[in-house]
């Protein structure tokens, strides 16, 4: 019984979103609902923050592993919140400065670690261990060659072959994945909306 109201909310919200797609007259209801959803989801960030602070204060208090670094997290968190609330977030203010000078380079660095990981993953995984793996290896290799000027220098047709792989076999594979996954998503959504799947509410039947 404790799940009756939440299940009803899920059903109504889901049906409104489906209806507004097909029934133009109900579009405005759908738009309002989406805005509400965004607001509710946004409030949750406070919950996450409380959890983050709890985990790190807990670690400091009980001298957990690497507890000496926890103050760094708390200070970083507090610094962003305080400067944001006190000085505002416009360009030129401390909040924006810390974002562009510290967070952005850190994000870009984490992102660029991929260049190294891609190299080591390719080195290890692309082995001609059976014919299917060999096909994977060849298609990756040809496409890589086709993306750099040197490929065309080796053989003028390589960029064309690379384009062809992207446009035909690659597109076919991507499409199969997309159509299949879309069916999985439709079925999962239906189970959610009609309350057949309810474990996310913390109550298995």
């Amino acid at each position: 019984m404790r799940l009756a109201i939440p299940l009803m909310i899920t059903f109504v919200a889901g049906m409104i979103m489906i209806f507004q797609f097909f029934v133009p007259a109900t579009q405005s209801i759908g738009e309002t609902l989406q805005e509400w959803y965004m607001i509710v989801a946004s409030f949750a960030i406070f919950l996450g923050s409380v959890n983050l602070l709890y985990v790190h204060t807990h670690r400091i208090r009980f001298k957990g592993r690497n507890w000496k670094y926890s103050p760094v997290t708390i200070i970083g968190f507090a610094a962003m919140i305080i400067t944001g609330l006190v000085f505002g977030i416009e360009p030129g203010k401390p909040f924006d400065y810390m974002f562009t000078q510290m967070m952005v380079p850190m994000g870009a660095t984490m992102f660029s670690l991929l260049a190294f990981f891609v190299a080591s993953a390719a080195f290890r995984a692309f082995r001609a261990s059976n014919w299917r793996a060999t096909l994977l290896l060849i298609s990756a290799f040809v496409v890589m060659l086709g993306r750099v000027p040197i490929g065309a220098m080796i053989w003028g047709k390589i960029p064309l072959i690379s384009e062809w792989i992207m446009q035909y076999p690659n597109m076919a594979g991507q499409r199969a994945v997309m159509i299949g996954a879309a069916m999985g998503m439709v079925a999962t959504s239906l189970r959610m909306i009609f309350g057949i799947e309810r474990s996310y509410l913390g109550g298995a039947d």
Partner: protein, 285 residues
């Protein structure tokens, strides 16, 4: 000898990391440059589609990325802006990513200054609003209520570029420079598919393959993929232009080519070592 080759297959990945780092640093430091050939393909399609727009059209340019993908997408923004402004096509820009606003402004004002164009008359930056796909749907019926002012707080009613623009359907083309979500899929799904507006775009090389189906179905006109797409576009935009401004994609391409070769070399080495060890094991049986 064979044991050395076999060991090669299991080298410490940190050696790969060091070689990769050098492969990027050295070409950049010595400023190595390589020529870029232009072939038929999504980059060329994109260029031709923009080139076919009549002067006086209006294009929506959406900056859906942040500084982490700047090396790939910013040169595209600059090259696109150069092409659009040279052809007297008006640009209305906005951002689905918060950091896209200042990146967009950087690119547009840089090009605008170099070509002697004027903000508000030839282009405007409406700024950022949250919401992604939902925001696009709302713009479909009324842009001015979603963006009552541009990024600097100037009312859109006072901005000449916006005179004839009331909803998404008023644009002749939408171009999204997209680093992820929200980005090209949102524009294709919520604007292209719903309001039948031509969509073009640029994206990081990583997401390009997933947009190929959109090219196949005609849901997108053209696509610039990664630094290669940016360098292609830079090259195409510069053809026939006297004294072109310096691009950033073309020099990076040289470093990229070297790094690519290094990775391919590693793959070849890995396979030689793998085959060698397989042969030996097979022989021992």
């Amino acid at each position: 000898m064979s044991t050395f080759i076999e060991k090669l297959g299991n080298i410490d990945r940190r050696i790969i990391f060091i070689v990769m780092a050098l492969a990027v640093i050295i070409p950049l430091a010595v400023r190595l440059t390589l020529p870029i050939p232009i072939d038929e393909g999504p980059s060329k399609n994109m260029y031709d589609a923009v080139d076919a727009l009549p002067p006086g059209s209006t294009v929506l340019l959406s900056f859906d990325y942040d500084p982490s993908t700047m090396p790939e997408l910013q040169p595209m923004a600059i090259a696109l802006a150069q092409q659009l402004m040279t052809k007297d096509i008006k640009i209305v820009s906005l951002a689905l990513w918060p950091m896209g606003v200042s990146l967009g402004n950087e690119a547009l004002s840089y090009v605008s200054d170099s070509l002697g164009r004027e903000e508000y008359v030839d282009w405007v930056n409406l700024g950022y609003k949250t919401g992604g796909g939902v925001l696009i749907v709302r713009m479909g019926s009324d842009i001015k209520s979603v963006f009552p002012e541009d990024y600097s707080g100037k009312s859109v009613d006072e901005i000449p570029v916006m005179d004839e623009i009331n909803m998404l359907g008023d644009f002749d083309m939408i171009i999204s420079l997209s680093a992820g979500d929200p980005g090209i899929p949102a524009w294709v799904m919520m604007a292209g598919d719903r309001y039948d507006i031509p969509i073009g775009g640029g994206c990081t090389a990583v997401s390009a393959p997933q947009f190929y189906p959109y090219l196949g179905t005609g849901q997108m006109l053209g696509l610039l993929g990664g630094l290669k797409g940016a360098a292609d576009y830079e090259t195409m935009v510069r053809i026939g232009v006297d004294d072109p401004p310096a691009g950033t994609a073309t020099p990076g391409m040289a470093a990229q080519s070297v790094a690519h070769l290094v990775i391919m070399l590693f793959i070849i080495l890995g396979n030689i070592s793998y085959l060698a060890s397989k042969k030996r094991k097979g022989g021992a049986k």
